[in-house]
Symmetry: C2
Subunit: 230 residues, 2 copies
């Protein structure tokens, strides 16, 4: 019946709400208004209400939302009621950091394999896992039912890593390598590029100084890089 079409922008904010809500239960809060949830998540309240309304009518007018119930509904929508097995491809500095990152396990993302192409690293222990051979990627991915691949290789190796993950049936890939990679249509791909974020900051910083120069000029029209205030 109900057409389920949650906007992409909303999906990207749900994890933010979820984190705020979890913080709240830990502090003993049982009910929350869109206003205070908005403050905690760093957005405005109209956006919170619109976003939550896509999930259904889970609030109570004049009262707010039940924190526990909202956590359950958002978790369900995001698919966090089950655990996801992850494989990290490329165990350099970044791969190491990701393997030890506590934030993953907290949301049900289990790192179950680390692979690297460098023979000298194979066998090395990281946490309670050992680094395995990149050549065995497909076998390992199938054996351990990996559903999310995390690419933390140097840029030139990223495409091959993606190809082999896809060949092994992995349908979701998070790419940290500074390279554009191609994946089959049925594979979801997201990327995080650390240096791109710095370049964006650089743009706004540079524009600020440029405007400083023409301080007496006309009024600034565009808005700067989003600050946290609504």
């Amino acid at each position: 019946m109900r057409e389920r079409a949650i906007p992409e922008a909303t999906v990207a904010r749900l994890p933010l709400y979820l984190r705020s809500l979890v913080d709240m239960t830990e502090r003993g809060t049982h009910t929350v208004s869109s206003e205070s949830l908005a403050f905690a998540a760093g957005v405005n309240s109209a956006k919170v209400r619109k976003d939550l309304s896509y999930l259904g009518s889970y609030g109570t007018r004049g009262v707010g939302y039940d924190v526990e119930y909202l956590i359950y509904q958002i978790s369900r929508e995001l698919g966090l009621t089950q655990d996801w097995n992850c494989m990290i491809v490329g165990v350099g500095n970044l791969g190491h950091a990701l393997a030890n990152y506590k934030g993953f396990s907290a949301r049900g993302f289990r790192v179950v394999a680390l692979v690297d192409a460098d023979e000298r690293k194979i066998g090395e222990a990281v946490g309670d896992l050992a680094i395995e051979d990149f050549e065995d990627l497909e076998r390992i991915a199938k054996e351990r039912q990996v559903s999310i691949g995390i690419i933390a290789t140097p840029a030139p190796a990223a495409q091959e890593a993606a190809d082999r993950l896809a060949a092994a049936g992995v349908k979701s890939i998070l790419n940290f390598a500074p390279a554009v990679i191609q994946v089959p249509d049925d594979v979801s791909l997201r990327k995080v590029d650390l240096s791109i974020e710095l370049q964006i900051l650089s743009f706004y910083e540079q524009r600020k100084s440029a405007l400083e120069g023409l301080r007496r000029g006309k009024r600034l029209t565009g808005s700067a890089a989003k600050s946290t205030r609504p």
Copy 2:
């Protein structure tokens, strides 16, 4: 004269074009069409042309863009013709990885200081820098003219880190801590949250399996997580 208002979405893509263009010069390409630049950057050609047109008319009809000249113009627009001094706050696994990350220095981002609140870490060498005391943050930031602060602390420490960076006159902050932080209006803030990206992937993965169930149902309307294809 000319009103300079480059859309936020365009700014976010300029670094992507820049990287592709740099790759191209290294392979000896001197001219590029919007079509091939689009392919390299993983977007479509109309978007490339619109984005580049905000910078000015730097292309030649019937020919394309001069790679070197475009690199210069984009770098200038992004403020990459100068170097930026960065300070990393919090040197755990992630801070370590960031300190050693090659992609930063390649674009003129110099990490000039590492600070941590854990006394046992102070003095420890990371690359050719030593970890210094979080308490000295303001002094160090001023002495070394830090303009970008990178927060890689645990979530509870993030707000204090931001406050002290702002107090030291740092006007751009990149936050890796999984927490929403407040900064003054004149400070630009961007955030990268590793576990949020995984949660977004989880959403689309979960929806895929849900749809598998009603395979014989009506046609899928929304689009899945963006694949790399245009």
